[in-house]
Amino acid sequence: MAEMILVVVEQREGKLNRVSWETLKGAQALAEQTGWTLEAAVAGSGVNAIATEVAAKKVAKVYDLESTKLEPYTPDSFSFALKGFIDQKQPKLVLMPHTYQVRDFAPKLATALNRALISDAIGCKYEGGKLLFTRPMFQGKFVADVAFTGDAPYFATFQSGAFRGDQVEEGSAAAAVETVNIEIPDGVVRNKPEAPFKEAKQAVDLTQAEIIVSVGRGIKEQKNIELAQQLASALGGEIAASRPICDSGWLPMDRQVGSSGQTVAPKLYLALGISGAIQHVVGMKGSRSIIAVNKDSEAPIFEIADVAVVGNLFDIVPPLIEEVRKAKGI
């Protein structure tokens, strides 16, 4: 058993998923606590550039697992490739971001190796020789520390926003990149991916946004959404909403933040006319900075806001757009 942590970064259609940096940051912190080596791997076809990008960070080594059968993504090909690789390397711990893709293949991969998987963790630590992972329970109201009881390799995934991806440490020199050609025999891949669903194609992944301008009931009418959209565009962010707005069909449902929508953790979350019911707050409380604009000075959103603006959003937003545009020269 190698004293090694392996981070499997995610790529989709040849592009690194930025949430991988968060997992890498978490892994770097854990490597420091444990003294274990940190290595990374990316699987795909022709993804050497991604491996090189990851190698610039503070990691001992990066593996580029290559096979033409890894593009497009299928759960069969990914779990097969990673199973063989992990079996051979025998890392202590395998860490992955908790993305849709990982959710798809990770249970299969762990089961194939007869190992346990702790999913959707929001933190981890090494205490008394034991790896402890923190997981949300009861829709984020409680957290529990859980540990593995069986044998390594252990598998764990981190929720989006668990670590600061922008704080991932750079390496002093580029790490070595080793290309591993994976042989995937015919018959292994039983899945035949179709074109992505139309809905999925349009869907915005709010978890990737660095700035989110979010609107609630206070926006009053559908036509006023445009105002928030202008602010989002000026800031270079995405527009999102609380449930009533998407429920009314003023914005598509994939823009809904909260317990029945997306959980987001952008650098900046601007809440316009959102009262801050607990159902919404659980979906955005991990945001780095929260600016809330609301007429009601007692609105619960102010309890978690870093900047509280009590006032009418229709008075505040238009000049704000002007200022942002001025500052950005647009």
């Binding site: 109201k141 809905e199 449930r243 998407c246 449902m253 317990s259 029945s260 607990i278």
Partner: protein, 571 residues
């Protein structure tokens, strides 16, 4: 434009043949399935040459997990469980045996303890349970016995052929809010069954279809209901003993409303507390969730909860009309058990043991049909006799007039209860009648503008975030979750009544009686009243209060896409 849920037309549905389909995996349905399995096992041991199969016996459960939609206090009278599984106490999740009980009458700031606990509320020998965990355990027994439980599937329609029930249609999955098929559309199944056993719980939606179609409520008292609003609290150690039981009457209700509270001490310093408000109050502004919040503000309760933490919330209606309200429980191709039929003892505030017993009796009836291979009305109708000859009737008959005695309010109710107590349940009349609860609701114009004596329990609770909670926060703690992109499952047959009539006549009481903030009147430019009904259907906790209490009876609760609903883990 709101689109309401109904089974899609013109889709080809998979057909499945079944012997027996039990709709609802609560205590009644699970007890029924388990008893049936036991009888089949005994039969097959004796008659291997004529073995019966369990392969075509199914339980449909709309919750994602067994027990997730089960809500009760709960106290379990073990009588029926001892018959179903002798020695069940050794393995069932029972939290505490009742060690102490007390009944209080509350005034605004004071309390009077009844010098003796009235016999119906003596609970020694009963157990404090989490009905969620209890049902989950019972469900695991059913699955171990080899009976298939379909979780995440709701029965949405009964299939009829003339006067006979032919089977059940399950919910369509993957329908969007406009009623169009999504890419993951899966039509509901048509389960053709020899017998359908309805065990849906209080105000079952299929039971309602059945009762309406065959006029089963003819010559019966209308069923009356209450809604129990519950919170589970974690208290500092030593506040309430495990197995301690407290009932209260009076405040915050006035003499005009029926209801009361329970407080049950469970293990690990968990305390179940809740308030049942009778769904027959007059003031449309009364809010049962608010009633619970006001109850907690009473000094007696506030002191008890001081420093504690609310961890779970839920609400569910319960039928407490009693014996005179129970419809015929068997017919051609069907039986009704548990709360769906109204097997609940309102004087003792208990129904789980009766639900289990009725499920067992239905199983015995179904078993007889299986062995005779005769599923005709003649055989199924024996369920009626089995109930009449069982201790269900023995228990319910003496309290047959109890709840109706309260038709004219608390004081005359206590008088009638007293007379009934000394006359074997008869009271002043052989058969007390009553009204359906929603008929008692009064127009706003006939009520004091400020709410009068009920001023403290009308309109929404604000909540301080520690002792009391606004409704939306409470709803969060029910962990209810639904697919958002689906038609509304609260079917309002005429929204013009909401927007144009109710808004003036009753002030849209749906906003108040719904304990989950499903109903909302929003500003609208195109209605004369300037208001328009809006449904937050995904907040629904499946309590059925709207279906029961709507004064115009234009709301029909139908199951949403299977798997949606509250998650009453540990409740």
């Amino acid at each position: 434009m709101m689109v309401f849920r109904k089974p899609l037309l013109n889709v080809e549905r998979p057909q499945m043949e079944a012997d027996i389909v039990i709709v609802g995996g609560g205590p009644a349905g699970m007890a029924c399935a388990l008893r049936l399995s036991q009888l089949i096992d005994e039969h097959n041991a004796k008659r291997p040459d004529a073995a019966l199969s369990k392969d075509n016996i199914y339980v449909l459960e709309k919750a994602r997990d067994v027990g997730a939609h089960c809500l009760s206090g709960a106290l379990l009278d073990p009588r029926s469980m001892r018959e179903l599984l002798p020695g069940f106490e050794k393995e069932a999740p029972l939290d505490a045996a009742v060690v102490q009980e007390a009944v209080y009458y509350l005034t605004r700031n004071g309390k009077f303890k009844l010098p003796i606990t009235p016999p119906p509320l003596r609970d020694h020998g009963n157990y404090v349970i989490s009905i969620n965990r209890f049902t989950k355990w019972l469900g695991s027994k059913v699955e171990e016995a080899g009976i298939t439980v379909f979780t995440g599937f709701a029965g949405t329609e009964l299939l009829f052929e003339k006067g006979r029930v032919l089977g059940v249609r399950t919910d369509d999955k993957g329908v969007d809010k406009n009623g169009e098929q999504k890419s993951n559309f899966e039509p509901g199944y048509d389960l053709k069954a020899k017998v359908v056993i309805l065990a849906e719980g209080s105000r079952g939606s299929l039971a309602k279809q059945l009762i309406n179609r065959f006029l089963l409520d003819n010559e019966r008292n209308p069923q009356t209901y209450g809604v129990g609003v519950k919170e589970l609290w974690e208290l500092p150690a030593g506040r309430i003993a495990a197995g301690e039981v407290i009932y209260t009457m009076g405040y915050p209700l006035t003499f005009h409303e029926y209801g009361g509270a329970w407080i049950y001490g469970s293990r690990d310093n968990l305390v179940s507390l809740g308030f049942v408000t009778g769904l027959d109050y007059a003031d449309p502004r009364i809010d049962p969730q608010r009633v619970l919040q006001e109850f907690k503000k009473h000094p007696f309760i506030a002191n008890l909860l001081e420093g504690g933490k609310m961890v779970r919330y839920g609400a569910k209606s319960l039928p407490y009309g009693g014996w005179w309200c129970i419809p015929p429980v068997a017919g051609d191709g069907w039986m009704i058990v548990g709360d769906s039929a109204g097997f609940l003892n309102s004087q003792r505030l208990k129904g789980i043991h009766l639900a289990i017993k009725s499920g067992m009796l239905a199983a015995e009836t179904a078993f007889e049909a299986m062995t005779k291979d005769d599923y005709s009305l003649g055989v199924l109708d024996t369920f009626q006799d089995r109930v009449e000859k069982s201790w269900i009737k023995e228990e319910l008959w003496p309290v047959r007039n109890f709840h109706q005695g309260f038709d004219q309010g608390f004081l005359s109710g206590m008088f009638h209860a007293g007379v009934q107590q000394i006359s074997g349940g008869r009271g002043l009349r052989a058969h007390y009648c009553n009204h359906a609860g929603h008929e008692r609701m009064k127009y706003l114009a006939d009520l004091p503008a400020d709410g009068g004596a009920a001023a403290h329990i009308i309109s929404a609770a604000k909540g301080d975030g520690k002792l009391t909670f606004d409704k939306l926060t409470d709803v969060y703690y029910s962990a209810t979750k639904h697919e958002e992109d689906q038609p509304a499952h609260l079917v309002i047959h005429d929204t013009n009544i909401c927007n144009e009539r109710c808004v003036h006549e009753y002030g849209n009481p749906c906003q108040n009686f719904c304990p989950a903030n499903v109903y909302e009147m929003v500003e609208a430019s195109d209605t004369p009243s300037g208001k328009q009904i809006h449904l937050n259907a995904s907040n629904c906790v499946h309590c059925k209060t709207c279906d029961i209490m709507d004064p115009y009876q234009i709301i029909t609760w139908v199951p949403p896409e299977g798997g949606g609903g509250p998650n009453y883990e540990g409740m």
